[in-house]
C-alpha cells in the first residue's frame, strides 16, 4: 500500500489549495472594495497587485524546488500540502528530518518508511508551525496595539533573538555532522554511529561554500533577486556532489 501517494492526501491537498485561493480572492475583493470607499484609485491598487504578482514568481520557484527534496521522504502530496499552507521551505525539511532521525529504523527500512513514523512526522510538521494562526485567532485583535509597540520598541533585539533561537538548532545539527565527519575520517567512533559521516561533512562544507559564493556575488553585483535562489541552489549543488562523495567512501 503506497500510503504516501494515495488518493486521500491528493484530495486533501486539492481542498487546501482551493481553500487558500478562496481566502486570498475573498480578502482581495474586500480590500479592493474598501480601497474604492476610501478613495484609492484603481490604478494604484492595480499597480500593487501587478507588482506583487511579478515579485512573487521568483521566490515561488525555490519553494517548488524544495518540494522535490521533501517529497522523497514525505511523498509528493503531503509535501505539496505543507508548502501550500503556513509552511516554509527550510522548516519542513528540518522537521521531517527530526522525526526520521528519531525513528530507530535501518537504512533499508527507511526507504519504505513505516506508516506510524510517517504519521508521526505529519503531526510534528503540522503542530510545529501552527502557533501563528492560533495566536491570530485569540490574540491579534486584543493585542494589536501592544504588538506594534513591542515590535517597534526593540527591533534590533527581536532580530538577534530569532537568530539566537535558530543558532541552537544550527549548533546541534551542524555540530553533529562536523563531529560525525571528523570521527569518521579519524576512525575514532563505531562505524555504525558515523555512517556516511565523511560524505555528509563534505556535503555540508560544499553547501556552505556555495552559499558563501552566492553571498559574495550578491554583494558584488547587488542582484537582490538572487537571494531567493541562494539556499535551494546551494543545497541542490551540494546534493549533486554528494553523489560523488558517497561513491568515494
Amino acid at each position: 500500500m503506497d500510503f504516501k501517494e494515495g488518493a486521500l492526501l491528493y484530495i486533501l491537498g486539492g481542498v487546501i489549495a482551493v481553500f487558500v485561493l478562496a481566502q486570498s480572492v475573498f480578502f482581495l475583493v474586500r480590500a479592493v472594495r474598501r480601497g474604492k470607499e476610501i478613495g484609492l484609485s484603481t490604478k494604484v491598487m492595480k499597480k500593487a497587485a501587478v507588482s506583487s504578482a511579478t515579485f512573487s514568481i521568483v521566490p515561488s520557484v525555490p519553494i517548488a524546488l524544495s518540494m522535490i527534496m521533501l517529497a522523497v521522504t514525505m511523498g509528493a502530496a503531503f509535501s505539496w500540502i505543507r508548502l501550500s499552507v503556513i509552511g516554509s521551505m527550510s522548516y519542513e525539511i528540518y522537521a521531517a528530518g527530526q522525526v526520521a532521525s528519531a525513528a530507530e529504523i535501518s537504512q533499508d527500512a527507511m526507504n519504505t518508511m513505516p506508516i506510524g513514523v510517517f504519521a508521526g512526522a505529519m503531526w510534528v510538521m503540522t503542530l510545529g508551525i501552527i502557533i501563528g494562526p492560533i495566536f491570530n485567532i485569540f490574540g491579534l485583535k486584543r493585542y494589536q496595539k501592544k504588538i506594534a509597540e513591542i515590535g517597534q520598541r526593540n527591533p534590533k533585539w527581536s532580530k538577534i533573538l530569532i537568530d539566537a533561537l535558530f543558532m541552537g538548532i544550527i549548533a546541534v545539527m551542524g555540530g553533529q555532522f562536523i563531529a560525525k565527519g571528523i570521527a569518521a575520517f579519524g576512525s575514532i567512533a563505531k562505524p555504525e554511529l558515523v555512517m556516511n559521516g565523511q560524505a555528509q561533512l563534505l556535503t555540508l562544507i560544499t553547501s556552505a561554500v556555495l552559499m558563501a559564493l552566492f553571498g559574495v556575488v550578491i554583494k558584488a553585483t547587488k542582484w537582490k533577486w538572487l537571494e531567493n535562489f541562494a539556499l535551494p541552489v546551494s543545497m541542490v549543488g551540494a546534493i549533486a556532489l554528494s553523489v560523488v562523495y558517497h561513491g568515494l567512501f
Binding site: 486521500l8 486533501l12 489549495a17 487558500v20 481566502q23 486570498s24 480572492v25 475573498f26 480578502f27 482581495l28 480601497g35 484609492l40 491598487m45 499597480k47 507588482s51 506583487s52 504578482a53 515579485f55 512573487s56 522535490i68 505539496w80 501550500s84 499552507v85 503556513i86 509552511g87 516554509s88 528540518y94 528530518g97 527530526q98 522525526v99 525513528a103 506508516i115 506510524g116 504519521a119 508521526g120 505529519m122 510534528v124 510545529g128 502557533i131 494562526p133 492560533i134 495566536f135 491579534l140 494589536q144 504588538i147 513591542i150 527581536s158 538577534i160 533561537l165 543558532m167 541552537g168 544550527i170 553533529q176 562536523i178 563531529a179 560525525k180 570521527a183 555540508l204 543545497m235 551540494a238
Partner: protein
Amino acid sequence: MSKTKGYMLNEYQQMTHRIGRIWTGCALALTVSVPLLFCLIYGVTPEWESFWKGIISVVPMYWAIGLIEIFNYSPMLGSGGTYLAFVTGNLMNMKVPAAKVAMDKAGVSAASEEGEVLSTIAVAVSSIVTTLILVVALLFVVPINQWILSDDLLRSVFDLKIGYVIPALFGALGVVFLAKSWKIAILPLVLMIAVFLLIPAVYDISGILIPVMSVLSVLIARWMFNRGKV
C-alpha cells in the same frame, strides 16, 4: 467604533478581525485535519517515540520564533495582511517584501488605512501566485520523485535520516548565521562539536539538546546585547 486596549477600530477593521478569525480557524482545522484524517482512515497511530523526539526538537523553537514573527511582521502587514499571510506562510521571503514593495510604490505607511488595503491586496495576490505555481510544480515533482525512488543511490542521497539533504540544508544555513552573528554562534557550535566527539551516545538524544542549546544561545546573545557587543 470599538475600543481594544485603547486602540480605536473602525467598522471595516472590526469586520476584518471577525472575518480573519473565521478564515484562520477554518485554515487551522483544515491543516490539522490532514494528519488526523490520515490516521483515522488508515487506522494508524503515530510511532510515539519518534513523534515525541520530533516534538521536543521542533515545537519549542518554532513556537517561539512564530510568536516573534507576529510581533515583527504584523505591524508591517496590517490586520488583513497578517491573517492571510500567517495562513499562507513564507513570510520572510515573500509576503512581507511583497507588501512592503506595494506600499512603498504608493508612498503610504503600513499604519494608514491605504497601507492596510494595499498590503492585503499584495499578500492576497502573492498567495494566489504561489498556490498556482505549486499546483503546476506538483505535476513535475511526481515523476521526478518516482525516478529518484526507483534508483537505490538517489534514494539514499535524498534520505532525510542518513542521506545528504539535511547536511546540505545546515551547511547553507550555518554559513549565513555564522557570517551574520558569529559571536553568538561560535560558542554553542564548538561546544556541540566537542560533546558529539567526546560522548558519541549523545547522537541518539540530539533532538533533546536543541531546545537546551537554543536557550543557551539566547542567554549568550542577551549577555552580549546588554554589553553592546552584538
